[in-house]
């Protein structure tokens, strides 16, 4: 069989296909842990939560780790610290694929971040279709469908999966197990369309982007920010879980009297130190400054890469103060009229 852009994976072959992926690297997929979902190393298909909504930490954790060794000090000189192993990320939603592409713009632009690049090159991304819950608003941002940024993308069908092949690597993977695949029929396409239509109509939340950049900029002194300043706890959860937040701090740590490592770890623009410089001057001294800064950063429309928000809903789901991203922006908009 010749594998092309679309193939079908019948349900009876699904498990075998899944198992075959281990050939390509250590397999990670969303599993349920207590109340949350998380990308974890898996061995069997039954461990996976195929119908998961969103993981707490997005797939960025594999490429920019929460705590990450960069360099190791050996006799006064730095050596590159980390080795990389090939990984397969199974079951990534389209918003998160878009999120990774936004991180690519940051980390792969000149000068390249060597750690991120190595890990990206050693990873295989297998996307999977999803149904939105009450937090999702990716459709309004155009990140509800991934055209690239994956190797294979599985779309649910009543009797299996319609598989989109997104890269040469993806093609090789499918080829490697070609006996498991079939040609796609008209009926499959029909089911695919049906699923997408149902999905499109299931979104409960949407962000009004109309003139958003200018409206937000004009609303710099809006009382709405002040209102939220009082509600926000400044905990930085929203940064940690956001697929496009990637500020990091760096520090050198001594492991013993002879060896030190340079480590970076996630930072958050909600922390008071984020804008602090020597002499005690702080460029974002109040929580209001910091709250607003995050919204400006997320809603800046970069002509090359679009918004810095992919509408995944994580910052809403994991905010202890129940602050809702879309609602904040709607309120700011209303406040201006």
């Amino acid at each position: 069989m010749i594998v092309l852009r679309y193939v079908k994976l019948p349900q009876e072959n699904f498990e075998e296909f899944f198992n075959s992926l281990k050939r390509w690297g250590k397999l990670y997929a969303p599993v349920k842990k207590g109340d949350i979902y998380s990308f974890q190393n898996v061995e069997t298909l039954s461990e996976i939560a195929l119908d998961y909504t969103r993981t707490m930490l997005p797939p960025k954790k594999f490429f920019v780790r929460p705590k990450d060794e960069m360099l190791k000090l050996k006799e006064g000189h730095w050596e590159e610290a980390n080795g990389t192993e090939p990984i397969v990320l199974f079951g990534v939603h389209s918003c998160d694929i878009h999120g990774l592409e936004i991180l690519d713009k940051v980390y792969l632009s000149d000068p390249v971040d060597p750690y991120y690049k190595k890990r990206r090159e050693n990873s295989i991304i297998i996307g999977i279709s999803c149904m939105p819950d009450e937090y999702c608003f990716c459709k309004s941002l155009g990140t509800d469908f991934a055209m690239h940024g994956f190797d294979l993308f599985l779309h649910e069908l009543p009797d299996g999966w319609l598989v989109r092949v997104g890269s040469v690597k993806g093609h090789e993977i499918a080829w490697g197990s070609e006996e498991l695949f079939e040609n796609v029929t008209e009926e499959d396409f029909h089911h695919f369309r049906e699923f997408e239509e149902k999905r499109t109509n299931s979104f409960k939340r949407s962000l009004n982007k109309e003139g958003l950049a200018d409206i937000l900029d004009l609303a710099f002194d809006s009382p709405v920010w002040k209102k939220y300043e009082r509600i926000c706890l400044g905990c930085g959860n929203c940064n940690m879980v956001c697929p496009t937040c990637r500020c990091y701090e760096v520090c050198d740590l001594w492991i013993n009297a002879y060896e030190a490592v340079r480590v970076r770890r996630y930072d958050s623009c909600f922390m008071e130190t984020h804008g602090l410089v020597a002499g005690g001057h702080n460029f974002r001294p109040t929580r209001l400054d910091r709250f607003r800064h995050r919204y400006y950063c997320k809603n800046y429309f970069d002509p090359e890469s679009g918004f810095n928000c992919v509408g995944c809903g994580r910052c809403d789901e994991f905010c202890p103060a129940k602050i809702e991203h879309v609602k904040v922006l709607d309120k700011v908009r209303e406040g201006l009229q």
């Binding site: 000189h77 730095w78 590159e80 701090e249 930072d267 020597a278």
Partner: protein, 288 residues
């Protein structure tokens, strides 16, 4: 690799004031030395391996090759560590980073350098670049300092007060704290030396705004006042350059700390700057 730092040897340490030291450095590897090209206004990241990194402006001029200089104020953990280093010690260096001042574009024009305190460091690079190259119409240096003891590169400043006019270089100095030394200077060079703040030095000055650029560096509070003086004289926002400071971790647009702006314009001070025009500041909220 992006975050690797190169060995540089400290050739000389000079105490400029009680808080600032001038370090003269050269890369140990001659090849790296040869390749190290920079522009006034760019900065490097200094790496004291096992302790940390911090950004510092290059305060020497690329017209003098074979070494580079950093003026470091002792303010906290890393800079304190730096101040303990001696001639012969090795530090790691990466860079140069940032855009720097558009020196070529400004050729043939008059430059007004406005420095406050430590802001003298990056502007000293411009000053000597301009003097060495001889390609600029006229150079003004307006320098605001707290006290006589705080004047950075004091020998050079006094030398230029004395002899600058011969090189088309007009130095003016404002000090805040009176002392015998200041009064002595003021007697010798009045009205170019006076008690006051840096904006007082603009009094009585007018410029050919069609052919002038202003370059500003100083503490955050200084910019608005200096810019007002320049705008009052109708200097275009595109001719006002300033170099800015932010917390920086990476220096290359990755760590996110130096991001400034709003939904209509976001800038990274490390890679889009640290030199910006006043027009940039008008279109990117929060730059100054």
């Amino acid at each position: 690799m992006t975050f690797q730092t190169h060995d540089a040897r400290i050739l000389e340490v000079k105490e400029l004031t009680s808080r600032e030291k001038l370090f003269t450095l050269r890369f140990v590897d001659p090849e790296i030395n040869r390749k190290f090209k920079y522009k006034p206004g760019q900065f490097v990241v200094v790496d004291i391996r096992g302790f940390g990194e911090f950004p510092i402006s290059l305060c020497s001029t690329p017209t003098r090759e074979g070494y580079f200089q950093l003026c470091v104020r002792r303010v906290g953990r890393m800079t304190k560590h730096m101040h303990t280093l001696k001639e012969g010690d090795i530090v790691g260096i990466r860079g140069p980073y940032g855009n720097g001042f558009p020196m070529e574009k400004m050729e043939g024009s008059t430059l007004i350098l406005v420095a406050g305190g430590l802001g003298m460091a990056p502007l000293r690079s411009v000053l000597w670049y301009a003097l060495d190259s001889g390609k600029y119409e006229k150079i003004y240096l307006f320098y605001g300092t707290k006290a006589y003891e705080d004047i950075l590169f004091r020998d050079e400043v006094i030398h230029l007060l004395k002899h600058g006019e011969d090189m088309n270089c007009h130095v003016k100095l404002a000090y805040e704290v009176e002392s015998p030394s200041c009064i002595y200077l003021e007697k010798g060079y009045s009205p170019r030396v006076c008690k006051g703040v840096v904006t007082d030095l603009f009094r009585g000055e007018s410029f050919d705004v069609e052919n002038t650029y202003a370059l500003i560096c100083g503490p955050p509070v200084m910019y608005k006042f200096v810019i007002k003086e320049l705008l009052d004289r109708k200097l275009s926002p595109g001719r006002i350059y300033m170099t800015l400071e932010r917390r920086m971790r990476c220096g290359v647009g990755k760590c996110g700390h130096c991001i400034v702006g709003t939904s209509t314009s976001i800038k990274y001070v490390c890679k889009d700057g640290p030199v910006f025009t006043y027009w940039d500041a008008l279109s990117t909220r929060g730059l100054i």
